[in-house]
Symmetry: C2
Subunit: 161 residues, 2 copies
DNA sequence: AGCTACTTGCAAAAATGTATCATCTGAGAT
DNA sequence: ATCTCAGATGATACATTTTTGCAAGTAGCT
């Protein structure tokens, strides 16, 4: 993320807090900046670990609460993936994901064409659509390589990205 | 799921196990049948609870392991959702989901048109796409109703479906 | 029936997320 | 600059979900 974009996101952050009467604490700023600086999709605990480098006193609970707030304010996205831990994404504009079925890794996919899918008619469910994103599932480069060497599936790795 | 379809899925289940040298235990059959019979998207613990009606002795651990196996064999899907527990889906053909941002509920969406999105070129990532599915995020009927009555967001419910 | 590899169940613990409450702090008012 | 208070924070404890290691059991084959 370039400097200009980051400035803009921080201004958006300050404004959203002002408008909702929420104080901008150093913890909130540290958590938000920490996620902004990342190119991957960290879990809450990964954010906690990163923020502690700057604020060693911060509590894990606070990080969980702040991440929840930031998502509610629309400043971060909570992303969907087949794993079992919540992951957070600094990108709040529409984009899509490649999800590896072996290691659970997630790669961002930004392609204008994919943003043009017409929304289905879901009036029969009473559902109101806000946005959508597409998950392409398959196998990442590393896992394809690993699968080629051994017939057996690759050893399960910690999910990354 | 009608009877014929169920027969076919059970045959597929037996064949996949034979081909991979995995014994078909009564626990495996019970877990698979239990998920097949459902119309919703149960979590591992919900499957555990349901299977115990038939096999009271089965351990929670076994259910977790078997669900993982069935997903690896392609007999079940593990679905993506913003909540914090893994959920399983008996439908392995392509379909899409409506996900409620408030309560986390999931509704199946089967619409032929949505299956026709052209796959992006991801050679630059070395990624091999197997399939895709679309998440439409928004608000379900119940949560819209609840939001209308009070300005505040609805009380957090246990995620269903 | 017997062999063998794989599975199961148990116990324990790690990982992840939530609740409670006393104390502290940001931000506007004075 | 200081005051004041609603709201945030941090500590602890707890609930839930998932993983690990190993002894005992069982499916599938000969």
């Amino acid at each position: 993320m370039n400097l200009e974009e980051k400035q803009q996101r921080l201004a958006q952050f300050a404004q959203a807090h002002r408008e909702n009467g929420l104080p901008v604490t150093m913890q909130r700023r540290a958590v938000f900046e920490s996620v902004l600086e990342r190119e991957d999709h960290p879990s809450a605990d990964e954010v906690y670990a990163a923020v502690r480098a700057e604020l060693p006193e911060i509590s894990r609970m606070t990080v969980y609460r702040i991440l929840g707030n930031l998502v509610a304010l629309g400043l971060l996205n909570k992303i969907c993936h087949p794993g079992s831990v919540a992951r957070f994404d600094p990108k709040i504009y529409q984009h899509h994901h490649l999800v590896c079925l072996d290691c659970g890794g997630i790669i961002d996919l930004e392609e204008e064409r994919l943003n043009k899918v017409a929304w289905p008619d879901v009036r029969r469910f009473g559902f109101e659509i806000a946005d959508y994103h597409i998950h392409f599932r398959g196998r990442c480069a590393a896992c394809r390589q690993a699968a080629k060497k051994s017939r057996k599936p690759p050893t399960k790795r910690k999910q990354t990205s």
